[in-house]
Subunit: 240 residues, 2 copies
């Protein structure tokens, strides 16, 4: 018999809207509501579940905030394709709070970025094709074209790292990489300072691609780590 804490025995009442949400999630999980499908209207769901409009609306709003459906005023709500990116986007609001309320969280996030991108680099090096390498080189050229525009340069930087992650064929890695970089960039966009090292960034990117193309996991990992260690200075908060 399983040991339980006293709280395990408590009867936890679910709100009506939570129960409606569970039903809707089950409909998505089972395929009864498939991506692209129209979501039954509020009035239909009221009748089907025998509840009032507030409970239905609360459940639908929860579905939308989790990225499961898209609600349009006056239009018919639709079921979204279930992707990692959609799922993680619900973290955006609170990520902003976590990063602004505790400056140390910026450094914590950087550490995770290092760990994830090093592992990603190793994996990508094992799977990199000539096409992958060519597209990464094209992205380096596109980034070079943005010299002089800090914001577009950073966006191109994110595109490079996200495409690198794509080589792993792991959609979760790709989504998490893009999400973290977006947070680091967006949070600091107002503090971004020209570091004067963009050419260094570009040549480091090219070096990484060289090792990726050679399918050299160790060299790719080391080049990536060196790149990240130097690039971190770009994300330092300006002295106050």
């Amino acid at each position: 018999m399983n040991e339980q804490s006293p709280q395990d025995n408590k009867i936890v009442r679910l709100k009506l809207s939570d129960q409606v949400f569970e039903r809707l999630r089950e409909m998505v999980a089972s395929g009864e509501l498939a991506p692209g499908d129209v979501v039954p209207s509020e009035r239909v769901l009221m009748e089907r579940f025998g509840v009032g409009r507030p409970a239905v609306r609360e459940a639908l709003q929860a579905m939308q905030s989790k990225g499961l459906i898209t609600i349009t005023h006056g239009g018919r709500s639709r079921v979204n394709a279930l992707t990692a990116g959609v799922a993680f986007s619900q973290l955006d609001d609170i990520a902003k709070l976590l990063l602004s309320s505790e400056p140390a969280n910026i450094d914590h996030l950087k550490v995770i970025r290092h760990i994830l991108e090093r592992g990603t680099a190793r994996l990508a090096a094992q799977k990199c094709t000539a096409k992958d390498a060519a597209e990464l080189l094209a992205l380096i050229d596109a980034q070079r074209a943005q010299l002089g525009n800090a914001e577009l340069f950073m966006k191109a930087d994110i595109a490079f790292h996200t495409r690198l992650a794509q080589i792993t064929a792991n959609p979760l890695i790709q989504a998490i990489t893009e999400m973290m970089l977006t947070w680091l960039f967006e949070y600091h966009s107002s503090l971004l300072l020209w570091s004067g090292r963009e050419e260094t960034t570009l040549s480091e990117h090219a070096e990484i691609v060289k090792y990726l193309a050679a399918n050299d996991a160790d060299a790719t990992e080391q080049a990536l780590e060196a790149h990240l260690s130097r690039a971190d200075s770009r994300f330092k908060v300006a002295p106050s």
Copy 2:
């Protein structure tokens, strides 16, 4: 002048409830609403923002689903302490869907676990103290006591890996580690099969602690990787 996609020019109307949510989030971000504080009641917020009760309720529900506040029926809502764990818990619902809808996502998640825990192990090996090592050994003993109970054994396993992550002094790493392990465990709890290798798990844990205590980052990483590679077989989906 920044290049913009056609969508950047669209006028996006914010719902009233979204605007109320923004105000509430700003109050949390600014400290006007601090952890432990009572959240103003629905009636007070209706008056303050000059909106109807539905808009206020929607915004408060969004705050709760993001873990920012706790609402109790009949009681006064409270502001939560902002932690990574609270933030990530909002992913639980959709993580279940992602993992059940696409079996490949289980493998994708395992890959990320490998990458994160390897990096975590390296970092932890650099920071491990005798106290850390002693507590890990105690957790191994506690896990040994759960032989014969698959569910509690797995919970003890999660506790071991989470405590290991704690050594890094990075709350984000700790929260993410615990979250991922909980997903992998919970999702498969109905499919869990005795692998007969629990003693191996325990001795591998002890080996990891030995290298942690010696502050040997390379050996810790390799031992952890070997452990994860073997342990992965335990999470295989039973043939259908």
